[in-house]
């Protein structure tokens, strides 16, 4: 019987370290944008400025508890999950609700994880947060932005002044992260790229057809870039074959465009990924069923 004895050495720790490093940077920026910068200008008290830090600490705490309870030993994954969870809520999300939601969600996630790796937990988590924010009508602006008139130019938005989760707005850092992750053999960059191009194509098509209705800075939707770099190419929840992967990416790109720019859902990228994910999951099961029938 033929056997493969050697395997490509895959340094998953390297990828985790890169991810962790960038999550720290994103957190650092989110902390500055939503807290420290206002504190320096005396627009916010020190305790209020610490809110982004609380999000991350709560995230790490909840993640640690769930890891401990389910005897999962992976320090890097724990930190990644904890910080990521802390970056996703809108800056004005109430801390106590955040704690309750995160705590129970992560426990449930650990339980599900043991059954299947197919479910993209962080995406489910974020969609749950979006549900919360729309139910309680929590905006994506931080408390200062909610009360003070402001204007940000395109460069500001690219650097991170756009609207989104507390630490997900820096498109610049996210694109930089893509540059690093892209060198990882197991990162499905073609899916991200196909989503990016389909979204870009549609945006500029309508931008040139109706220049009066769009601003260039609308193109830089932080949630879209964050989604296509961190959530979209996740191995377990995206198609395994290249062609299906490309369709998946294009589907997310197109749907994101419509949700963001036609239905004005600022975080529409997460929702579009959520919907396309279910569509492809269904197609995957149908395919599997057919294969099983065929080989019988």
């Amino acid at each position: 019987m033929m056997k493969t004895w050697v395997h490509l050495s895959y340094d998953s720790k390297r990828t985790k370290k890169i991810l962790l490093f960038f999550l720290f940077l994103l957190f650092g920026y989110g902390f500055y944008k939503n807290g420290l910068s206002y504190f320096f200008f005396k627009m916010m008290s020190f305790s209020d400025a610490l809110k982004p830090l609380w999000f991350v600490l709560i995230g790490i705490f909840c993640s640690a508890v769930s890891f401990l309870l389910f005897r999962k030993k992976d320090f890097y994954s724990l930190l990644i999950e904890g910080i990521l969870v802390g970056l996703l809520p809108p800056p004005s999300f109430p801390l106590h609700w955040f704690f309750i939601y995160t705590f129970f969600f992560l426990l449930l996630a650990r339980f599900w994880e043991r059954k299947t790796s197919l479910i993209p937990m962080m995406l489910f988590y974020k969609v749950g947060l979006i549900g919360f924010t729309s139910l309680f009508q929590i905006g994506l602006q931080n408390v200062i932005e909610q009360t003070t008139p402001y204007y940000y130019g395109t460069i500001d938005v690219v650097l991170g002044r756009g609207l989104g989760g507390v630490g997900t707005t820096s498109i610049f850092l996210v694109v930089l992260l893509f540059g690093f992750l892209g060198s990882d053999f197991y990162y499905k960059k073609e899916i991200s790229i196909s989503a990016f191009f389909s979204y870009t194509f549609l945006f500029f098509l309508f931008f040139f057809l109706h220049p009066e209705s769009y601003l260039l800075q609308d193109y830089f939707n932080p949630s879209f870039f964050f989604t296509i770099v961190l959530f979209l190419p996740r191995n377990a929840s995206s198609p395994a074959t290249k062609m299906a992967g490309l369709f998946y990416g294009v589907g997310v790109g197109i749907l994101s465009y419509f949700l963001i720019h036609c239905f004005s859902i600022q975080e529409g990228a997460y929702l579009s990924l959520f919907l396309i994910y279910f569509l492809f999951l269904l197609l995957h099961f149908l395919w599997l069923l057919r294969q099983k029938k065929n080989v019988k």
Binding site: M2, V6, H7, Y186, N235, Q291
Partner: protein
């Protein structure tokens, strides 16, 4: 150009190219079965004597000695039968060959090629190009390279004579870019053969896979492909008028202190070769035949036949298969466009007939799923 992957042989597994010889085993074993038709009744045989015919192949004695008996050896799950011959160490033979030291040989060789009825010579009539396939199947092997280094003059002489017998105008020698020894050996004599041209390919996997090579690099049907092993075997047979009785064997792996190429008698038991030719580390070993990407797990009682080119003595490790994480890299890397992912999802029930068993899909699989084995399960 089809897909290929660059895999380099680790420095510590590189073999010593000073060939060690082990041509005096106490016994040799030749594979046999009840259906074999005996060609001799004698018990005392000479080297090169035809012994029996089995599955349309004639088996010759690689040593002179005494036929002992038919023995059964348990190899893995299977019980295999072998004809055991006791070596008298005399190396007696009915030698009729001509020493191939002069160019005069060419005419003699031509005559012999014309009279020689071998299946592949028939197909040569319709060909206009001869191609020597001198690439190793895997980067960890060196047997073909050693054969080329030591016998390049015979290989080239044979190819040239074959070409002139069949009015073939072009001969291409394909080697790996990093196989310096073969390249140097060829460069020394290429000016003698104006029809010959050397082509170098990067040492990628699976360029050394014959069917992949044929599909990828031979653009037309009228090119005739011969490996260095085949050329040398045919040359030996035509000059010595009997089958080659030895083979070059690469013995390497992380359990070997002195990786080595060994010249051994066909029919020797691997255990004897290991004992005499290499020193091993004191750890539990798994032995693989002919490769680490697509090798076969064998035992120490393996009998060395012509198709064994490499033996890998590897520290036994448990390769833990995890669940498929749907990364799709197996599909992405497959050089012939198979769907190994589908093979995994259908638990081996689907098997793609295009698969060339190169092992690249299993090599890149982060879950260490042995996709090759899944294919075999069918």
């Amino acid at each position: 150009m089809k897909k290929a992957v660059s895999i380099l042989c680790p420095e510590k597994w590189k073999v010593n190219r000073q060939v060690k010889e082990f041509l005096t085993p106490d016994f040799v074993y030749l594979p046999i079965s009840k259906e074999a038709k005996m060609l001799t009744k004698k018990r005392n045989v000479y080297k090169g004597d035809a012994l029996y015919e089995y599955q349309k192949k004639t088996y010759y004695s690689p040593i002179s000695g005494k036929i002992e008996k038919i023995v059964s050896l348990k190899q893995g799950e299977k019980e295999n039968y072998f004809l055991k011959i006791l070596n008298d160490f005399q190396e007696n033979d009915h030698y009729q060959g001509v020493e191939h030291t002069t160019v005069m040989l060419t005419n003699d060789l031509k005559e012999r090629i014309r009279n020689y009825h071998h299946h592949f010579f028939e197909d040569l009539k319709n060909c206009d190009t001869l191609v020597l396939f001198g690439l190793e199947k895997e980067p960890f092997l060196a047997s073909q390279s050693i054969l080329q280094e030591h016998h390049m003059d015979e290989i080239c002489l044979f190819l040239d004579t074959l070409a002139s017998c069949y009015h073939i105008d072009h001969i291409f020698l394909y080697f790996q870019e990093n196989d310096q020894e073969s390249i140097e050996a060829a460069e020394k004599i290429l000016n003698v053969y104006p029809k010959m041209q050397m082509i170098l390919l990067p040492p990628y996997v699976p360029y050394g896979n014959r069917s992949f090579f044929r599909q990828t690099f031979l653009s037309h049907d009228r090119a005739f492909l011969l490996s260095s092993y085949e050329v040398f075997d045919a040359f030996y047979e035509l000059i010595k008028l009997r089958k080659k009785d030895f083979l070059y064997l690469t013995i390497t792996g992380d359990s070997v202190k002195n990786p080595q190429v060994v010249k051994v008698k066909i029919g020797t038991v691997l255990e004897d070769v290991i004992k005499h030719c290499v020193s091993c580390k004191k750890n539990k070993m798994t032995i693989l035949k002919n490769g680490l990407l697509a090798g076969e797990v064998v035992e120490e009682n393996l009998v060395l036949t012509e198709d064994v080119h490499g033996i890998f003595l590897m520290k036994t490790k448990e390769i833990k298969e995890e669940k498929c994480i749907f990364c799709g890299k197996c599909n992405a890397v497959c050089p012939v466009g198979c769907n190994p992912y589908k093979m995994v999802q259908t638990k081996g029930k689907f098997h793609d007939s295009r698969c060339i068993s190169c092992g690249l899909c299993s090599y890149v699989c982060p879950s260490h799923i042995s996709i090759l084995e899944k294919g075999d399960e069918k």
